[in-house]
Symmetry: D2
Subunit: 346 residues, 4 copies
Amino acid sequence: MIVVMRPGATTMQINEVLDRLGTFNLKGELSQGEERVVIGVLGAPIPAGLGQALEALPGVEKTLRITAPYKLASREFHPLDTVVRVRDVEIGGNELVVMAGPCSVESRDQLLRTAEGVRERGAKLLRGGAYKPRTSPYAFRGLGEQGLELLAEARERTGLAIVTEVMTPADVPVVGQYTDVFQIGARNMQNYLLLEEVGRTDKPVLLKRGLAATIEEWLLAAEYIMAQGNRQVILCERGIRTFETATRNTFDLNAVALVKRLSHLPVIADPSHGTGKWYLVPPLSLAAIAAGADGLIVEVHPDPDRALSDGAQSLTLENFGRLMQQAQAVAQALGRSLTPEPLSTI
Amino acid sequence: MIVVMRPGATTMQINEVLDRLGTFNLKGELSQGEERVVIGVLGAPIPAGLGQALEALPGVEKTLRITAPYKLASREFHPLDTVVRVRDVEIGGNELVVMAGPCSVESRDQLLRTAEGVRERGAKLLRGGAYKPRTSPYAFRGLGEQGLELLAEARERTGLAIVTEVMTPADVPVVGQYTDVFQIGARNMQNYLLLEEVGRTDKPVLLKRGLAATIEEWLLAAEYIMAQGNRQVILCERGIRTFETATRNTFDLNAVALVKRLSHLPVIADPSHGTGKWYLVPPLSLAAIAAGADGLIVEVHPDPDRALSDGAQSLTLENFGRLMQQAQAVAQALGRSLTPEPLSTI
Amino acid sequence: MIVVMRPGATTMQINEVLDRLGTFNLKGELSQGEERVVIGVLGAPIPAGLGQALEALPGVEKTLRITAPYKLASREFHPLDTVVRVRDVEIGGNELVVMAGPCSVESRDQLLRTAEGVRERGAKLLRGGAYKPRTSPYAFRGLGEQGLELLAEARERTGLAIVTEVMTPADVPVVGQYTDVFQIGARNMQNYLLLEEVGRTDKPVLLKRGLAATIEEWLLAAEYIMAQGNRQVILCERGIRTFETATRNTFDLNAVALVKRLSHLPVIADPSHGTGKWYLVPPLSLAAIAAGADGLIVEVHPDPDRALSDGAQSLTLENFGRLMQQAQAVAQALGRSLTPEPLSTI
Amino acid sequence: MIVVMRPGATTMQINEVLDRLGTFNLKGELSQGEERVVIGVLGAPIPAGLGQALEALPGVEKTLRITAPYKLASREFHPLDTVVRVRDVEIGGNELVVMAGPCSVESRDQLLRTAEGVRERGAKLLRGGAYKPRTSPYAFRGLGEQGLELLAEARERTGLAIVTEVMTPADVPVVGQYTDVFQIGARNMQNYLLLEEVGRTDKPVLLKRGLAATIEEWLLAAEYIMAQGNRQVILCERGIRTFETATRNTFDLNAVALVKRLSHLPVIADPSHGTGKWYLVPPLSLAAIAAGADGLIVEVHPDPDRALSDGAQSLTLENFGRLMQQAQAVAQALGRSLTPEPLSTI
């Protein structure tokens, strides 16, 4: 950390900074510039609130952090790529992984048709919400545990692993009984008690980026999970909120490429929420793969216009099938693989 | 709701929209423009997911919602101002209410000194965090129930009512044993299960706006609480996230004035989080009052540079006292009142 | 400037940074932390592109600038408030200054009625666009030089000074023949050739903040003007673009208060563009004054619903009159003055 | 356009809206909902300022535009893809086009080395700034006409066509003497007089998206050029400004895919400005191609760490060569072509 003093800061003010550093067993190294004094902080670890505390001291203009505030999620700490195993699927390896399914589990028929359809076309995991966060209290909010049971039945029939959202710490045990991967939704990215609760389980966690979360805050949220012992975190970029309203969110593929550099964790892209429009899902899926994503999570519904949620951004099975063929071609061009099942294996 | 068809939409596509509306007991009214057909939706209520479902139909370009999606929080539904009573304090009436105290409860001494100091200078409620959401897992996260006990002790000694944050549904009972007002933090504005849990209590709720929440989403979050029966919601503007990094957040005073028009609920402003810098707190506090806020919530610490959290945005007691004098002058200029206690009453 | 090396940066890479600094006559001071080397840059001035050049070197992680990149606009350079004189009006002194008038000059009758109306109610400058930047090529774009002539006539009849926009360097001479203050619009805040052209005149410049401009970029735009010799720059906050769409822009009053601290230049607030809704103009005008603005620029139209541009955000003369009374009360509460003319002086 | 009245709007207020529409030769069609009246506007064209004018009328809550405000740039108006021809290169056809070169023209040697290097590796156009907009008045701002001469010399030696920025209307003739394509920079996207000036020439225009421009505003800026007669507009996505500061801008690939649907104009992507970091340029270049871009514009410098501007985001020739190989593979996977020259042709 660097402490920048105001021009004209007094010796007493500088000494107060040095004293304060001393109470944390840190040392300050003065550097006298033309206009002002800058103090380099030596020693470790830097407490999380140090910058704010020093900025409250008289004579201090600002503090600048130099090292990333996360460790466990950082590639510096762990240079090799993490590969997360879910049943017999590896996420973060050379093969791309596609997760697909409806926004919400609505009925047995809807779910099984979708599960079989996406499996035939090459998906490896089935997504589907049993507990749904909705902006309006008057919208459909999922089937709850009945939805989890249907997901388990779909897994049994198709062999697909399951990823589904958990919304509150108290639900972690029941969701954990059914799911293979816990999904933490964008609105819950900074629900720290929930992060810690899944951090104490031994199941992989798909951590969606919050709508207004910086990349650093996203990796700190991963750190919350990992600090509890669970290192199987899969990051998921799903679009951020910006001034542009022509699309539901602004899909930030810069973040996909940058996070692969800053962290060892696998990164999945969600073009359905990232765009909000079904006709933008195929081009942006391919773009996410080209940017370096380790896979996709895509909303698919056999009948999108009758979906109880997110119909406008769901692909039909036919469109999903076409996308998988193109995704395979792009993956191969990049030296990675993605294997749509041959239809004959069904 | 208005359904805008694409130019060249076929009669079959238009009929499909009309049929779908029929399944919700709604009617469509066609209007044939120069270039395209527009369908007005008649009947009520409009289901929350209708727009998305219709946008998934072939031939539909977009849907436009005409009425606000919230009811209970809306001034149309409830034209008179709501006044929330907390002990003997009224929030939302002609008198402005100031809530003050430390970011976190750190110790008995710190809390009692602050409580007495802010009471002397005219605060009516004591704020203080016992459970703190922190971006980093390595930061100080509050004293928990011990902090709640200290708050209760401070209330007993000063007569100040208490407002403190609750972070998860399971904590609502314990926090409710101590606090007078539940605070829902910005990161939890869309933690719907938490909203519903406080909505089932009979204590007032201070609902902070999320960092990336639109005004509509904020009022929908209030609707979640109110739909459970608890109508005592106090809105709190605390800054939104924008591209500007010279301040911690962008304090949105447009929102204060607009929400007073859209809703009957009282609105409190939080210039400490809204700016992130103690020296901006006084001018922006006055600005919030001038924009129509019903009160302020301000971080005050007897020794900001030793605060375990948010020191950089905390006022000293002296600065808080000066602010209260100015706030009183501005309130009076606007025909409202704010009464700093005469120091002699202590 | 601080240069942060990557962990594991080699001595050769560090030497390359030091060599590069040497070519600019700067010195580097090494500081060996636990994990990485940090290089403090000593000497001045720091060339504007230095950070980018160093970040292209191998082994460099990032650079952090410590001093503000502007000088002439900085309060460090010029601690006392600048007061800009326009005819007999002082902007930036204790008395607040209100500029008012229509968005566009539309006709002689409209302009003269407005000018007389706002003068009677206490405005000191008349605003009005002769050249209008419009998002659509098909919108009304102003009367051009004829509009300037009407502004001059209005000045002659009312004694009000004039502020009007200049859109391109080639128009500076003709606009300068008529106006008292050049207005640089938000879209042109980084039209550097235009900034330099008005910087070579001896007339005050009202510099609006760009929709997506940081405070630093805004002050750098002022620096462009001042570097040409013209030090009479008046800053104008008019709202920034954010994700919130319920208002036209997000009026950033944090910026008003912060700029008063960072710079010696006067700051005017434009609540008409800052909110986009006439009914939000009064509360946000008062808020801007409370935040420390040195005055207001407000759109007023005798007949807003027949305005050729920006009708939705224009006040009627009656509403403007009421606002001026309230503004006077708030100004006095803050120890500043604002003097609506007594109506009898007309 | 739809006019939404407030609940309780009076018949007189409704009639006032209808009368006002009549003055524009438009008709209003009333639709009486449960809570309020909605008025559909029939007739065409809708004047650009109509919405704002109507919103100033008493009783009107808001207006909603239904049709896009641009025509010439719209795919509805012109369903087939526009292909822009620059010398013997086609932009917008099946073959992708890569433009490459330094941010600024710095010297004859730098430019010729780069031009030959990028030509050998498959670039079809040479980019390079002779006039540079810079945030700071103290930064290097280009060689001016001497830079244009060097670009012309480089064209003669390599056969590459030239694209270079023009910053102000008065410079259009001189830049037009040298360049093959006018570039309009992001800061000038709404410099309407400049747009019109290049709109009166017969040379193609590369129109960069503004940092805070919506897709609609960007297409309206294209409309400004096209309305003057010049239909050869090439759109260029270069990143938007958001809250994320880990990258220079947020590269909006949603916009690339959406604009291909809304408009017939070719779209080029600029990953150098879109990311600001050279190591993110290759993955995001590939992503842009996968999202449907018709080509790339990339900063390449033989010696990025000695570049006078934008060194941190410039590729070396070696990295550019590798990128071209990968880009070719991705293009082929998508059924498009991109042909790096065989090195032997040099």
